[in-house]
Structures are given as structure tokens and as C-alpha cells.
Symmetry: C2
Subunit: 238 residues, 2 copies
DNA sequence: CGCTTCATTGACCCAAATCAATCTACGTGG
DNA sequence: CCACGTAGATTGATTTGGGTCAATGAAGCG
């Protein structure tokens, strides 16, 4: 099961061989993209859905004064925009955070597959709802927690999502996100993010050099940020 | 068109007479509920979807330390939880902000209607995506704007949504939300919300007594908070 | 090897929080 | 009809988490 989309959706529903084959067909013919390219720009009317197969991307919005808010991180297996089907124009942009491998899927193809394969349709719907739940948790995070807890919560979530697709090694994973970007995610300045990271290091909670983050004490990390992974719905409803 | 759900969905798609009749059937047999009751509690596994016909409700989450974050306001015509169909347990609660009239719709009934009436299915999907876009805008709001601008943005959004269902009178509308709750919405304290409101009053930007809010200068309100109503998608895609 | 992008550190500042009283408007029971 | 009780609004005094400004290090790379 090399296709990360299949890997992700299989967590939600049972997929039969034909479902898997369909998903592989969607991910066929992927293209390399260089880091920091935008996949979709605010105001676009995209006609395709982009599937991320390798690398990270982020969903973000820039205000008139230049401030930037990151609203989501996309990792392998994520579809950039199921919205495409109904909404008019993009109200935000999607940019790469690392070199990446992406597949471009025409709207048509998605519609066909979801019509023919109810299991896939259901899994995509499920994944949309998980995205929405994640957004709600980010809101709680930014609205109510202090800088330290916010960052702890974000790290827990990243680890959890990456572990679902096999991209963690123990408590460690590769995180191609600068401190500036972490700040734009949590409504903090890069300077303050830096100080919080220093503190986490001095408390031996994490290790972070280059793009390698290691969570040394997962229990403490979760406790401090009140992280409850249930909203990511790793398990199926019976 | 007295049914506010019909009124809301009609903005998205053309509904024929039969669609309208179906929606009226869903909203049949509503019940009065008193303010401050919870409609759904975190941890529940709701078996029905609740439709709000009159009054306001809010989606919120309480942290272990007692802090509360409000994640959405629900107004007449809103469905409390389409999520019910796929997700497991509620990861947040929904409570009333005022006396209200609500209809309880069994899952089954929604499934039937969406199977039989594609226009309704499409409109519900659209409305879910609008909810998600709204959440993204709240994130930007809390993450990047200062207290004054946040509150201005929220007031613009409230006015916009209420005007869609005919609940505004010029720049005014009834807002059954305390300053404490406004604070829990925007990640601010009630005290600070109060001071911002004082300032808006002194600048003759608003009038607010009891539950009656009047926006005196809509242009200024929008300009200051960089409010762009497009994310609420009042108009249809051609 | 020189650039450029990130990370780090220090000094100082401010928006919003905190703490602590009032004040006001209502709804209720007597 | 009125005294109370209570939820919500208001105000003042003080504190603080995080921002701002400004350098100075590192590290990766063409």
C-alpha cells in the first residue's frame, strides 16, 4: 500500500481491491514540484484537485497589512481541495513547504469515482469532517491556550497525523516548517516561538535541529496541552 | 417561505416545490426550548439532527481549567450537526443562547431526503463548506487581528448572516450574546470586550443597549476589520 | 566563499489580562 | 408594589505574556 491516499482512507472505511485500484489510478502520473511554489492562489477558480503524495504544504491567508495566518498543514495523502466542486473562488492559498510530489486530478475524475465507488465517497466525506474538526481544535488552541501549550498541542497533532501514514520514527519526525511559520500558525511572533522552543529544549521535552523534531516525552507533551487525539478519528465507528 | 431552512438553502440552489415541501416536512412538529439549555453535550452520540427555527445557539468547548471557546453561532435555519452521520462522538457541545424553537430530525429522515432530492443534498453540502470557510475566517480573525478589529469582524459577519434570513432592520439586529460570551468567542476577557465596546460607542460606530446592536457605520466597520462577505457565499456559482 | 535564509539573544514596550469593586436592570416572592 | 437577589455591565489600578526593534550567529548552497 504505497499510495498515501489509500493508506489514509483505509483508516475510515473498508476499501476493496477495486477501490484501491481506483485510488491508484487517481494518483497516477504525479509531478515533482519545488519547495515554496504555490499550488493554488487566493482568487483562483481551480478546475482540478491536487493530491499531495510526498512533502508538506500549507493552507494560508495573507491580510492587507502583510500578516499571514496558516490554517492547515497538508501532508502526504491529503487532497488540497474537495471544495472545488461547489464553492466559487479560493478564499485562501495553498503553498508548498518542501519539495513535493503532487498529482493533479480533474474534477471529472473525482466525480466519476465517487459515483461509482460509494466507499470512496464516504471516506472522502469523512476526511472533510475530520478537517473541520481539526479547524475547530485550532480555534480552541489559539483562542484559549498560552504560547507554550499551543505549540505543544500543534506538535502532538503533527506527530499523530504523520504516524498514521508511517512518517514518524519513535517520537521523531521531519518538520519542514520554520519558526516564522510556526508563529504564523499559532498567532505568535517568530521571536517568541524561538523562546518557547528554547524552553522546551531546556526541559528536555523536545529535540529540534534542522528539520528534525523529536518529542522526548510524549506523555508530558500531551498532558500539558490537553491533547486528545480522538478528533482525528483514527479508529472507525462500529 | 416561512421555513428558515428553506430560505437559507434557496440561496445556494434552485429548489422546486417538492423540495420545499420536503424541507417543510423536516421542520414539522417543532418544540420550544428555554434559554441556556444544552442541545447536545460533548461526548454524546446524537442520533438526530437538530434544526434551529427561532433563537440563537452556540457551538462551544470547555477546557479542563474551565476556559471556554465558542466556535460558532447558530441562527434560524442552521442544522446543528450534519456530522452525526459519520463521526463517532461529539467533541464539543451546543447550547442555546436564547429561548428557541427547534425541530428534531432523525438521521433516517435526512438520509431519505438527500437520496430522493439531489438539490437538497447539494445545498446541504454547500452549507457545510460555508461553515468550514467561516471557521477558517475565525482562525484568521483570532490569530492576526487585535481586539477591536476582531469584534468589528464578528459584528459584520453576524449582520451578514442575519440579513440573509431577514432578521436585520437597517444596521440593527438582536444579539442575545453577553460580553462574557463575546470574549469567549474572540479569545478576550469580558472586561476587555467591554472597553472595546465603549470605544466603538464613543466613536459612534455602534449602539448597543440590552440585546439590540445597531451598526451605525457599516462601511467603516467593514473597512476596519477587512471584512469581505464573499466567504459566506451569498451568491450562486453560475 | 560569499549570500541568503533561519535561528538566537537582549533591551524595552504595550495590548490585553487580572483583580476588585461598583453599578444597573430585571425578575421574583411576599 | 416593593425589597432583594442575581446576572450582566462598567470602571479603575496594576501586572504580564508576548510583541517590537535591533543585532549577531549558523547553516546550507550555488
Amino acid at each position: 500500500m504505497t499510495n498515501p491516499l489509500t493508506r489514509k482512507l483505509a483508516r475510515f472505511t473498508d476499501l476493496d481491491d477495486e477501490d484501491v485500484a481506483e485510488l491508484d489510478r487517481l494518483a497516477a502520473d504525479p509531478v515533482e514540484r519545488r519547495a515554496s511554489a504555490d499550488l493554488i492562489r487566493e482568487g483562483d477558480r481551480p478546475e482540478d484537485v491536487i493530491l499531495l503524495l510526498r512533502g508538506w504544504a500549507h493552507r494560508y491567508k495573507v491580510l492587507p497589512n502583510g500578516d499571514r495566518q496558516i490554517m492547515a498543514y497538508l501532508i502526504p495523502g491529503d487532497l488540497c481541495d474537495p471544495h472545488v466542486f461547489i464553492l466559487d473562488r479560493m478564499d485562501h492559498s495553498i503553498g508548498l513547504l518542501s519539495d513535493a510530489l503532487v498529482a493533479t486530478i480533474p474534477k471529472r475524475a473525482i466525480l466519476d469515482v465517487t459515483n461509482r465507488r460509494p466507499a470512496i465517497a464516504k471516506a472522502l466525506w469523512w476526511s472533510t469532517l475530520v478537517d473541520e474538526a481539526t479547524l475547530r481544535h485550532w480555534l480552541v488552541n489559539i483562542g484559549q491556550r498560552d504560547a507554550y501549550d499551543r505549540i505543544a498541542h500543534l506538535f502532538c497533532e503533527m506527530w499523530e497525523r504523520l504516524s498514521e501514514i508511517g512518517l514518524t520514527t519513535g517520537g521523531g519526525f521531519e518538520m519542514p516548517v520554520t519558526q516564522e511559520q510556526l508563529g504564523d500558525t499559532m498567532g505568535l511572533t517568530a521571536v517568541h516561538v524561538n523562546r518557547v522552543l528554547q524552553r522546551m529544549r531546556s526541559e528536555e521535552l523536545i529535540t529540534l535541529k534542522g528539520r528534525q523534531l523529536v518529542i522526548l516525552d510524549m506523555d508530558r507533551m500531551r498532558r500539558v496541552s490537553d491533547f486528545d487525539p480522538r478528533y482525528l478519528h483514527r479508529t472507525r465507528r462500529r
